[in-house]
Amino acid sequence: MTDQIDKGLLCCGVSKTFGNHEALRDLDLSVEKGEIFTILGPSGCGKTTLLRIIAGLELPDSGRIFLNSKEITRLPASGRPVNTVFQSYALFPHLDVFSNVAFGLLARKTPKSVVEAKVGDILSLMRMTGLERRLPHQLSGGQKQRVALARALVNEPELLLLDEPMSALDAHLRTQVQDELRALQKKLGTTFVLVTHDHNEAKMLSNRLAVMDEGRIIQFGSTQQVFSKPRNKFVAEFLGATNIIDASLLSGNAYETPFGTMDISDKPSWDKGKMLIWPDRIQIHEEAKADQHNWFNGLVLDQVFNGQGLDVMLTKDSGGVSLGNPTLSVKARTPKSIQSGQKVGVYFPPEHLVPLDRNSLSH
């Protein structure tokens, strides 16, 4: 167990109830030292409550929290080596950029010369030099976010918490800020824990993540692992999956689906349930191999060029009327042109069919 406490951040059996609402239910979480970890979940799933408990802005009803082997459960927010980038940024409206960033250092009675040096360094790292005397209301959204980051990082925290850091930014700024955030974390080596409801953000930023719902962690693992094999329909849909297919066992590894008989490598625990295939895993060919498992004849309903390849919408071609058939979305990397109304052969590789557990909270 001691090796567990040695984690960067460890939450053990954390519970929190607000009135009748159970925000967190006996939640366990461990984050490695020096990684970017994402807590992903829909609004109201308890992810912000968890973040606030780690920051010391909320007390858990029960449970313990360890940071780099030291217990911080009973420390006040002002006594924790943890800093937060708030969703609203929460900049002090009456203080300029310099004073906002210097706040944490001055609150700990750091000598003036040290404060000036450190604030100067972090502001130049954030490319904010020259804006020291601006007040928050004179800054753009992106600049405000950089001030909030600088204000937290200048204190050299052991853990940085980010609450929906991209939510107040314009779409075109997000990619840029995501890259900057990754680069910054690599440079400083600080543990980052961020909370978001946006699966793209999680995919872009973090190495590992946890998906939360109704106060519990539903799935936990490396980003690649979670995205390629979502545990159940909730996680799959939350990660943006659309191709979720009904399946029932025929024999051995073969399952009956609306798109014909499919072999699956990862044999599910159920006889009747749902499986998932990601759009970029579906193969489109000129013609289907007749009467082979995992192949069927498809009819292209629509196609859009997305920059790298084609986003294709297709359905099973059942001869005459195909209207009632379920549709699939496919990311085709082939440069070959595909027309709407064209007939194609579609192949589901057995190793890319992901069986989904039933949505249930009992692990």
């Binding site: 167990m1 567990q4 406490i5 460890l10 053990c12 059996g13 954390v14 366990d28 461990s30 010391g56 802005l57 909320e58 007390l59 858990p60 009803d61 029960s62 449970g63 313990r64 929290i65 360890f66 459960t73 009973r74 420390l75 006040p76 927010a77 002002s78």
Partner: protein
């Protein structure tokens, strides 16, 4: 995860995090009482309790030398209703009715002047508008005694208005235009017009002019435009204005004292008399209670009206006009 780190309660009992600060709920309560306690005690002892004492005092009687004798009678309330030593006389009831009437007339006059005034200010361009607004704010703070005094000057015997009136044969030569209703209403309206105009302006400024244009396009008459488009939209400001005009003008005593005579006596003057001259505190307390009851009645009536008709729904207005 293992058992070693599990199952223990998190924080110490009685601890809370309040606005980011870890503290005990007892300390938080002590801090709240320490800050709010003294001013609350002040307000209770010097405001709430004396107001309640007024009620008790109204049931007492005046002793021989002006002292208060706690006899617990309804004598004062009977006197108020007109049953005095010398039989029934409606004098006090007249004064109460007159207070209502003067307050109503003052309020109506202020509304009639405030609408054009606030419309004019609201339609001024940018900087000019701020200047006009300040012009309304400044008289808000003119001392009521100074203003009444100024009207004495203006309406005095040798001043142009009095001379004009004398030349027209309305008053006798060398007389002043006070005391009398004209002087009282001039004093009242000039005192309370800023009270009406400022809250009304807040509503007029936010007026949706497109609705007025739409109303005009629908060939609504001016009265219709006012009743259906302007009134509902400015109702919040208007009701605040009516409250802050009507309530204090009912209790007014400076203006009527300086500019009016016995015939314009209001309940405020009567209260002042009981406390300052007649030294009949119990009766003064009864009069104060009557005034307070009138005030609360008006507030309750206005609040009910406000709740019944929440004005300012653009769609509703347009559909009613169409």
């Amino acid at each position: 995860m293992g058992k070693k780190t599990k199952g223990k309660p998190g924080p110490r009992s009685g601890h809370v995090v309040w606005r980011g600060e870890l503290t005990s709920s007892l300390a938080l309560r002590l801090r709240a009482v320490g800050l709010a306690g003294p001013p609350l005690l002040w307000l209770t002892l010097l405001l709430a309790v004396p107001c309640l004492m007024l009620g008790a005092l109204a049931l007492a009687t005046r002793g021989q030398y002006g002292e208060v004798v706690f006899s617990f009678t309804l004598e004062n309330l009977k006197r108020l209703a007109g049953f005095g030593l010398y039989g029934w006389s409606p004098n006090f009831l007249y004064i109460i009715l007159r207070s209502f009437w003067v307050a109503t007339a003052t309020t109506v006059l202020c509304v009639l002047l405030a609408y054009p005034l606030t419309f004019h200010v609201a339609t001024r361009p940018g900087r000019t508008r701020v200047f006009w607004l300040i012009l309304i704010i400044v008289p808000f703070w003119t001392n009521v005694v100074v203003r009444a005094y100024a009207w004495l000057l203006i309406l005095g015997p040798q001043a142009p208005p009095a001379r004009l009136a004398a030349a027209l044969g309305l008053i006798r030569d060398g007389a002043a235009l006070y005391p009398g209703p004209l002087a009282v209403y001039l004093g009242m309206v000039s005192t309370f017009l800023p009270f009406m105009a400022l809250p009304l302006y807040a509503s007029v400024e936010r007026l949706n002019w497109e609705i007025l244009e739409a109303a005009k396009d629908l060939y609504a008459s001016r009265v219709q435009i006012f009743m259906q488009a302007i009134l509902p939209q400015t109702r919040p400001g208007l009701s605040v204005g009516v409250i802050v005009t009507f309530v204090p003008s009912m209790a007014m005593f400076v203006v009527t004292d300086l500019l009016g005579g016995a015939k314009t006596m209001l309940i405020g003057n009567l209260i002042q008399q009981q406390f300052a001259q007649a030294r009949d505190w119990p009766f003064g307390a009864a009069l104060s209670l009557a005034l307070m009851a009138m005030t609360l009645l008006c507030l309750a009536l206005l609040r009910r009206r406000r709740r019944q008709r929440p004005g300012g729904h653009a769609e509703g207005v347009l559909s009613r006009l169409g």
